[in-house]
Each structure stands twice: as structure tokens, then as C-alpha cells.
């Protein structure tokens, strides 16, 4: 429960419908799309403009309460969960596209605009927004900025940070900063790039400028059906080694295929297969058939039992729909799931997939894999029922082993979902105290009082000590210097 004076000022700023303080109504904000964590916020504020965000941040900061920004709550790392009864600032009402500047292939929008709706609005201009996270029909651009979201097509086109060219942000002290803007290549530090992926710890982006791309003229989509998932992994490696650059390459494994086929988004994958590999090429019509034929050849040589191609847009959408809704379809086979997000070097895919399968067997768990194979970005989904305590513990242990396996192979703990609450304790797997200390320092530059999304991304025990006047103690102390590959 937040103080009545704060409620009063928030209502003055955002209106009665924009402030939620009723304990029971706040229940629904306990979790994002990672339901393993439940923390009820102290209040929820739903502003409409930069000025309202500024007013809300200032008012909350005056009361010394922490703030958690939230988009559509589709995140998979617990990043939008409010610890310590923090006040949630939701962007659901900031859903206006402010400008589509077709001449310069750019758009300016509020953070609550839904990813797919931006592309829909750009389509009449022959343009689209390239990053396409699987939740693109629901997730917001503001959330994409916070998480630096990827998606199947970032194999060819890159992730969110490549497309964000300018930001208006409300900083934790209530001030407004304009970073970049008016196209790419602003002088100075890449503060836009630094802000993207900061998981709501640096401030709230209230206006976002993004770059758009011309819609590709043609698309070819293939589906390789494999009896062994390792073979699908090998096909991916072979295609890339041969110099082909598909727009996307996605693997859906056996358990996932069966879940999808059982859902309302059945895509027509054979349910007895152990892997389906979706490959897509896009660009001008000329040459697309040849590229698709070469990729199909690599699939067959790697052991595909069958290679299909989508005959029309309808079939193509069905193939993608099955892939994109796979996460939700898991609800069909188990009440709970834990989705991981490690990225590994592509060449290690076959051995990593085998390793994950062995870990699953050892802990007697169903692990369903659906992932961006072209990027080496894995999404093992561990299925469980939280009401089974023994299973819950096995999930925890298996999860950690999978992550360690990926890190040992030269990978990282998260490729696109973010660290959030879920993976912050795994950060020391990939970063030492120097790197974590530097991240703490940067966070403090944006948020000296530590009010923005506290308890996320960085494990508290790695925080450096600060002196009373804000100097970091021992910052200049030499750190043990063992040189290795970054």
C-alpha cells in the first residue's frame, strides 16, 4: 500500500483510471510471462505521455519508492516483476504511433505500441519493422527496447538495437533526456545502444525512433523433417558454411511439434518427426529459388526424410504460426514451463542438443526445444508441474546444468530474453567481478539512487561499495589480470 499522499498526486497526474492501488486488483501484476516469480506491486500507474511519466517518476521518487517499468508483461525473465512492493509504471496507454516518415524509412512511436502493429502500420508504405520476437503480436516496442529483443529473422537482419535510432527517456531522477534521433550516426557515445537492453534499470523510454526496412519482394520457406535433431543442427551449420544467408532458420523438436499440432495453431508438421527445420529466404525474386534449392540439398544430405516448401502465403503463415505460438502451446502438455535462452556457437549445436537431451533424461524431465538455430540461440523448455515439489527441484538442477553446458561451449546465458530476476544469479558464470562492477557503475550513472527496477540483472553481492560522496571504493584497485579471449 503506497502512502495516500502519493496516490493523490498520481491520480492528479494520470487520472483515476490510470492509478491502481487496490490490493486485490494488483494481483494480476504479480508476474510477467515467467510465472515462476510472484511479487505484488505497491501500485500500478498507467500514464499516457512523457510528461505524465515524468510526473509519476518524480512523485514516486519523492517518496523514495522503487519503480518497475512494464510493457505488455510478455517477458520471460521476470524483468517486469515488482520486488519490494515497487510501483509499476505501465506503458499500456502509451500506444500511439507518432510519425511514420516513409521517406526516411523511420517511425517515431510511444513505447506501448505493439511490435506487429508497427509493421502493419508501415505496410501501406511498403515498409516493415524487422525485429520479430515470437510474441510480436502482443509485445510492445518499449519492452523490445528494454530487452533488446531478437526474433527468428534477426539471423539476417539483426536485433532491436540495430533499429533503434533515437530515444526520449525519463531518467530515474525525473529529468528527460533525448538520446540520438533523426536517423543514425549521432556523434558522441552510443547512449541509445547502451540504453537498449538495459532492462528498465536506466529509465523509461517514452518516445522511440526506429528504422524501417522495405518489404522484401519475395519469400521462400522450406520445412525439413528430420528423424534426429542432431541432423537438423548439422544442416544449419552446413547451410551457413556454404555462404548462404537465410532470413531465418528455426528448429522445432519432437515434443514441441506434438504440442503445436495439438493446439489451435496446428501447422501440419508430422507428429512422429524428431525435428522440423524451418528455413526462410527473402529478397528479390531472382535467385530465391536457387538459394532455396541449395538449402534443401543440404537438408537432404544431412539426413532429412522430407523437405517441403510452402506453396503459398497461407502455408507459409501456417509454418510460422506453429513456430511462433510454440511457447503458448506448451501449456497443452504441462501446466508450467521454464524456458531457457542460452546462445552457443553454431558449430556446437549438435553436441549441445545431445547434452541437453541427456540432462533431461537424467533428471526425468521433458525438455522441449524450439529455437533460433541460425543464431545458435537455444530455447530449451523444461516442462513441469509446480505442485510437484520434487520435480520442481529437479527442474532447478537440470536448468543450471544446461546453462553451464552452454557457457562451457563458449556461449552466453541469455540471447534475447534478458537476465531479469531469473538469471541474475547466473551472471557470474560469464562475468567476473570487474565486469559486474563496471555494470553496477554504469547503472549508477543513470540511477544514482538505485530506484529503477532494483533487484534485477546484477546480483546484489557483486555490487561495489560506494563511499558517502558517491565515489566507488577501490575502483582504481588493480584487478587480477589473466588474459583470455573476451
Amino acid at each position: 500500500m503506497i502512502p495516500a499522499t502519493l496516490t493523490k498526486s498520481l491520480v492528479e497526474i494520470c487520472g483515476r483510471g490510470g492509478v491502481i492501488v487496490d490490493e486485490e486488483r494488483l494481483l494480476v501484476y504479480e508476474s510477467d510471462a515467467l510465472t515462476a516469480y510472484r511479487h505484488r506491486p505497491g501500485a500500478v500507474v498507467l500514464p499516457r505521455t512523457t510528461a505524465e511519466v515524468q510526473g509519476a517518476v518524480t512523485a514516486i521518487a519523492r517518496h523514495g519508492l522503487p519503480i518497475v517499468p512494464r510493457g505488455a508483461g510478455t517477458g520471460l525473465s521476470g524483468g517486469a516483476v515488482a520486488l519490494d512492493r515497487a510501483v509499476v509504471i505501465g506503458t499500456a496507454r502509451m500506444n500511439r504511433i507518432l510519425e511514420i516518415d516513409a521517406a526516411n524509412h523511420r517511425a517515431v512511436l510511444q513505447p506501448g505500441v505493439i511490435n506487429a502493429e508497427l509493421s502493419a502500420a508501415a505496410r501501406p508504405h511498403g515498409l516493415y519493422y524487422a525485429p520479430d520476437p515470437s510474441s510480436q503480436t502482443a509485445c510492445t516496442i518499449g519492452g523490445n527496447v528494454a530487452e533488446n529483443s531478437g526474433g527468428p529473422h534477426c539471423l539476417k537482419y539483426g536485433v532491436t538495437s540495430r533499429y533503434v535510432t533515437g530515444l526520449t527517456v525519463v531518467l530515474p531522477d525525473g529529468s528527460v533526456a533525448k538520446l540520438g534521433g533523426q536517423g543514425r550516426d549521432a556523434p558522441g557515445y552510443d547512449l541509445v545502444g547502451l540504453f537498449v537492453g538495459s532492462e528498465g534499470c536506466f529509465g523509461i523510454a517514452t518516445e522511440i525512433e526506429v528504422g524501417l526496412l522495405p518489404l522484401p519482394e519475395g519469400v521462400r520457406t522450406l520445412l525439413g523433417i528430420f528423424d534426429r535433431i542432431e541432423d537438423a543442427g548439422r544442416a544449419v551449420s552446413d547451410i551457413v558454411s556454404a555462404g548462404l544467408l537465410p532470413a531465418a532458420m528455426e528448429i522445432i523438436d519432437g515434443p514441441t511439434i506434438r504440442a503445436v499440432e495439438d493446439s489451435v495453431f496446428a501447422a501440419g508438421y508430422p507428429t512422429d518427426a524428431e525435428a522440423a527445420l524451418v528455413i526462410e529466404f527473402d529478397g528479390v525474386e531472382a535467385g530465391l529459388d536457387e538459394e532455396a534449392a541449395r538449402a534443401a540439398g543440404f537438408c537432404r544430405r544431412a539426413g532429412a526424410r522430407e523437405v517441403r516448401s510452402a506453396r503459398d502465403e497461407h502455408e507459409r503463415m501456417a509454418l510460422w504460426k506453429g513456430r511462433k505460438k510454440a511457447f503458448g502451446a506448451m501449456g497443452r502438455i504441462a501446466p508450467d514451463l521454464l524456458v531457457q535462452d542460452a546462445t552457443v556457437p553454431r558449430t556446437t549445436l549438435p553436441s549441445i542438443l545431445k547434452g541437453i537431451s541427456e540432462i533431461g533424461k537424467r533428471y526425468d524431465l521433458v525438455v522441449a526445444n524450439v529455437f533460433h538455430a541460425g543464431d545458435g540461440n537455444l530455447h530449451p523448455n523444461i516442462l513441469f508441474d509446480r505442485r510437484d515439489e520434487d520435480e520442481l527441484e529437479r527442474v532447478e538442477r537440470a536448468s543450471k546444468e544446461i546453462m553451464q553446458l552452454c557457457v562451457d561451449a563458449g556461449g552466453t546465458i541469455t540471447g534475447e530474453h534478458g537476465v531479469g530476476l531469473d538469471k541474475k544469479h547466473h551472471m557470474p558464470l560469464i562475468y567476473g567481478s570487474a565486469e559486474l562492477g563496471a555494470m553496477w557503475g554504469v547503472r549508477r550513472v543513470f540511477d544514482p539512487a538505485g530506484v529503477m527496477n532494483p533487484g534485477k540483472v546484477l546480483p546484489e553481492e557483486t555490487a561495489p561499495e560506494w563511499t558517502a560522496n558517491g565515489e566507488e571504493q577501490g575502483a582504481a584497485e588493480p584487478v587480477a589480470a589473466a588474459v583470455a579471449a573476451p
Binding site: 494480476v28 510478455t74 500506444n95
Partner: protein, 518 residues
């Protein structure tokens, strides 16, 4: 379980649904599909949020009588736009009915809602109420009141409040509700101006001239005629004075005449029977039918809904048609769900399921037959998909195919056609603020199309959008899909030269009379 006394059994009912609730993986894909979330931005007003509240009740963390549960479950339109986008296949509509059931037991629903449901569910109350409505409508007072209100309605104050997502105060709400009620009543009037003045003033396009207008066409010259089947036992096309191509053994359909449909839209029922007959169906009466129970189920009065379902099963089994024809998609969705409504009924469960499988929207029945082409209607129209047709029954293509089949008709796309109009049964009356907001967005996109008429397939939507348009000062009429087809057929002379409005064959009249047993 913090649910009191007699609610224990009800709580158990929803608890038994836990597996269905657990299907929800909280992915949030449903959020943008939800009209209330899109406007209010509060996740408690999203499908995911409502499911979470239901789950909280099951877990014993929330009281079904709490403000939070009552407000947010109550604020759901029940449009079920969340279902097609749910990758986990959560049966939201079903869970919502149970939640309303539970909520209604924990706290008495508002007087207005109770009253309306009571009237719809009771034949001897419904018929006089509908008669009174027709009489009032005939006086022209509702239309006059609507015109007077339209000025005030457009004032900025209201929109400002809507923009902040706030409902008006009690008195303002009652006034708004009364105004809307009158406007809805006015909107249920036939679109005489469209069919008479406007169409008459506009010559058909050259390529369609050959077919000619109904009034000029002679019985022999119009297309597709002169081969009427001669059914002796039932009012076949020939007996009805209709002439069309019919198979030797035509499929039979029984029409759900409905309560509002029968009371205020009798012309739609009549048109339905005529166009079905013209497409080779044999329309048979199903006496003793009553209200489908949709409003009761949506309102959470599941016991009443089940009683109505049982009665209708008996009535329609008696007629034993191949199909049950629906021209009110809300009713269609309810009857198509009789199987799950009565799933636990050992005596009626199987019969309910078998009957539900025969339920078809009139657009599906027509599309299956082509449908037969009529005379050109040189109009520009736009189509709004009723939620209970598109989302609840997944019927997307048939209405489009029926519209395509009408010569001369220009169909322009409607922005947001898949979104609820805000009518949602009695929602416009219980939530005038939010319903009005959703409705005014619909009105804005209709106006943007520049169409001569809005076409849809459900009486509630017709009245809600019609009222919204009228209150916005627009004269664009709202017509039912079959009304357009009917007009096209009439002009083509498919019903014979003697058939005209009000001069209805006796057979059709029998098949479109509401049940008499209640």
C-alpha cells in the same frame, strides 16, 4: 476457500476447471485482442488478468464477492476475441460463464441486469415487453429522442471522461443508459430509406441490367426460376409462392426465432426463411422453442441457461431438421455450445451434443449453396463481424462469400471489423461508459468507410452500432446480411411477382413464429 456457505459447491465447480485454467501459460498473446484492455490498459481488464483472478479464487487468495473480481469479470464483454489468438487453447468463454456464475452467487448482480435476464427468459414477460417496444418504436419517439440526444452525445466532455477510462456517475449512467436504450430501439427499425429511396435513385450498373429489378421482372424472365419442388408435407418453395432450383430431396432447416429477433426483427426472420428457401432448403417449423439462454449463460445464470437448453433440445428434436439455422450469432454460439453447457447432464448430454453439431449460421448455409444470385444492389457496404460468429464460432469466410455473391455490391473493408462493437448483450446498458467508448470507435471506423450501409449478423450488434451511428448524427442504416440478400432476390423476382413486403406466404410465417409454450 473464502467463499461463504452455499457457494462451496459453486467454488468446487470452478475448482474443477483448474486444469483448464492451468492451460494458461500467462504468455499475454490475448492482451491486444481484448477491447477492454486496449482502452483501459489495466491488465485486470485483459483475458490473462481475468483468468489470473479466477485462478486466485481457486487458490483461495481472492473472494469471488470482492470488488476486484466483480468489477473485472463484470467488465468483460464476452466477445471471446481472445480465444482464437490463444496458443494454449484456453476455453475462455466457458471459464467466464463459470466465473460469472460464481460471482453472481457471491454477490447479487445489479437490479437492471437481473431484470433484463428475467424478461428475456420468461416468454409471458418477453412477448408483451417486445410488443411494447414495437409500439413505442412505431410512435417515432425513440428516433426523435435519438436525434435530440445526438447533439449532446457529440460533446467533448464525454469523450474526455472516456479517454481516462472512467464510468460516469450513477445518475449520469442511468440517463446515458436510457438514452442508449431508446436509440437502440430506434435502430431496430427497418432500413426503409436504404432499400426504397436510395436504391431506387441509383441505377444498377450496366453489366447487371440484364437481370433487372424485381419490380419490373416478370416471373418467367428472372434467372434461376421455374423449377420449384413440390413438397406436400411442409411449405415448400412452390407452396410459398417461391420459385427456385431445389434438389429432389432438399435439406431441412429449422430456424431459431429468438426473443429479440422475433420481437423487434421479425423481418429478419422472414427474410432468413425466404433466402434459405430460395437456396433450396426446406424450412420447417420448430414449435415450442424458446430463448436460447445465451444472455443467461453470459450473465452467469447457468441453471436458467441449462433449463432453456433442455427445452430447446426437445423442441428442435421434434422438428428433426438437418440443420438449425441461426441469424443471431449470439444465439448461434450459445446453441453450438449446448454440448458443453449440458456436459454433466447424464440424460441430455449426448442429445445436446448431437443437436449442437447441427447448428449453422445462416451465412454458412447460404455459402454452402453458392449462394443463388439475385438482382444487383448498387450499394457500397461494409461488414462488421459479430464476435459470436467470428471468434466464438470461427465463421469468417461465409459472410464474405455471401456478400460477394450479391451483384453490384461494393464491399469496403472496415477497420477493426474483428473487434467487438461494445453491444455484447446487455453490456451497452450495464456499462454505458466503456461500452459507449468501444461503440464510438466502431462508429468512427464505419463513418470512415463512406459506406451506404453497415452489414452485420446479430441483432445486438445491429442495435448497438445503429444507435451509435444515430447518436453520432449519422443516417447510415444497419442491416442484417440476409436482409440484403433478400432484397436482391426480391428485386430479381425470385419470390414471384406477387411477393412483396408484408405479403408473406403462410408457410414462411409458420416457420418464423416464436415458440408458444412458455
Amino acid at each position: 476457500m473464502p467463499v461463504n456457505g452455499g457457494q462451496g459447491t459453486l467454488a468446487r465447480a470452478i475448482e474443477e476447471q483448474e486444469e483448464r485454467l492451468l492451460n494458461c501459460v500467462h504468455c499475454g498473446f490475448c492482451l491486444p485482442a481484448c477491447p477492454t484492455y486496449r482502452r483501459l490498459g489495466d491488465e485486470a481488464d485483459s483475458p490473462r488478468g481475468r483468468l489470473y483472478l479466477m485462478q486466485a479464487v481457486v487458490e483461495g487468495r481472492l473472494d469471488a464477492g470482492s470488488d476486484a473480481f466483480q468489477t473485472h469479470i463484470g467488465r468483460c464483454l464476452g466477445c471471446r476475441a481472445c480465444e482464437p489468438v490463444c496458443p494454449s487453447g484456453v476455453e475462455y468463454g466457458h471459464l467466464l460463464e463459470l466465473a460469472r456464475h460464481l460471482g453472481g452467487s457471491a454477490r447479487r448482480p445489479a437490479l437492471l441486469a437481473r431484470l433484463l435476464l428475467r424478461v428475456f427468459g420468461t416468454g409471458w414477460l418477453a412477448r408483451p415487453a417486445m410488443l411494447a417496444g414495437r409500439v413505442l418504436r412505431a410512435t417515432g419517439l425513440p428516433a426523435l429522442a435519438t436525434r435530440l440526444l445526438s447533439g449532446r452525445h457529440r460533446s467533448g466532455e464525454r469523450r474526455d471522461r472516456q479517454g481516462r477510462g472512467e464510468e460516469p456517475g450513477r445518475i449520469a449512467r442511468a440517463a446515458t443508459g436510457a438514452g442508449l436504450g431508446l436509440a437502440m430501439l430506434a435502430a431496430s427499425s427497418p432500413a426503409r430509406e436504404l432499400f426504397h429511396k436510395r436504391l431506387a435513385a441509383r441505377p444498377a450498373r450496366r453489366e447487371h441490367r440484364a437481370v433487372g429489378h424485381g419490380k419490373d421482372a416478370t416471373g418467367a424472365s428472372a434467372a434461376g426460376r421455374g423449377n420449384g419442388a413440390t413438397g406436400a408435407s411442409a411449405p415448400g418453395p412452390a407452396a410459398a409462392g417461391l420459385s427456385t432450383v431445389a434438389p429432389p430431396d432438399p435439406p431441412t432447416v429449422a430456424l431459431l426465432t429468438g426473443c429479440v429477433q422475433a420481437g423487434l426483427f421479425a423481418r429478419v426472420n422472414e427474410a432468413t426463411a425466404r433466402v434459405l428457401t430460395a437456396n433450396g432448403y426446406r424450412v420447417v417449423p420448430a414449435a415450442a422453442q424458446g430463448c436460447c439462454g445465451a444472455l443467461h449463460a453470459h450473465g452467469g445464470d447457468l441453471e436458467a441457461a441449462r433449463d432453456m437448453a433442455r427445452r430447446n433440445i426437445g423442441a428442435f428434436e421434434g422438428a428433426n431438421p438437418d440443420f438449425l439455422a441461426m441469424n443471431a450469432s449470439g444465439c448461434g454460439a450459445a446453441m453450438a455450445a449446448y454440448g458443453s453447457l449440458l456436459a454433466d447432464d447424464r440424460l441430455m448430454g449426448d442429445r445436446a451434443r448431437q443437436l449442437a453439431e447441427r447448428v449453422r449460421d445462416v451465412s454458412q448455409l447460404l455459402a454452402d449453396r453458392g449462394p443463388v444470385k439475385g438482382a444487383p444492389l448498387p450499394l457500397r457496404v461494409t461488414y462488421d463481424a459479430p464476435c459470436h460468429l467470428l471468434h466464438a464460432q470461427g465463421v469468417a469466410d461465409p459472410p464474405a462469400r455471401v456478400l460477394e455473391s450479391v451483384p453490384g455490391l461494393e464491399v469496403v473493408p472496415l477497420d477493426g471489423a474483428a473487434e467487438c462493437c461494445g453491444g455484447a448483450g446487455i453490456y451497452g446498458l450495464t456499462h454505458p461508459g466503456l461500452g459507449g467508448w468501444i461503440g464510438s470507435d466502431k462508429v468512427r471506423s464505419v463513418l470512415a468507410t463512406g459506406a451506404d450501409a453497415l452489414v452485420t449478423g446479430n441483432p445486438g450488434c445491429m442495435m448497438q452500432i445503429g444507435a451509435g451511428l444515430a447518436l453520432a448524427g449519422s443516417r447510415i442504416p444497419v442491416v442484417h446480411l440476409v436482409e440484403l440478400v433478400d432484397e436482391s432476390y426480391r428485386r430479381a423476382g425470385l419470390y414471384g411477382p406477387q411477393a412483396s413486403r408484408g405479403n408473406m406466404p403462410a408457410g414462411i410465417r409458420a416457420a418464423t413464429q416464436p415458440g408458444r409454450s412458455a
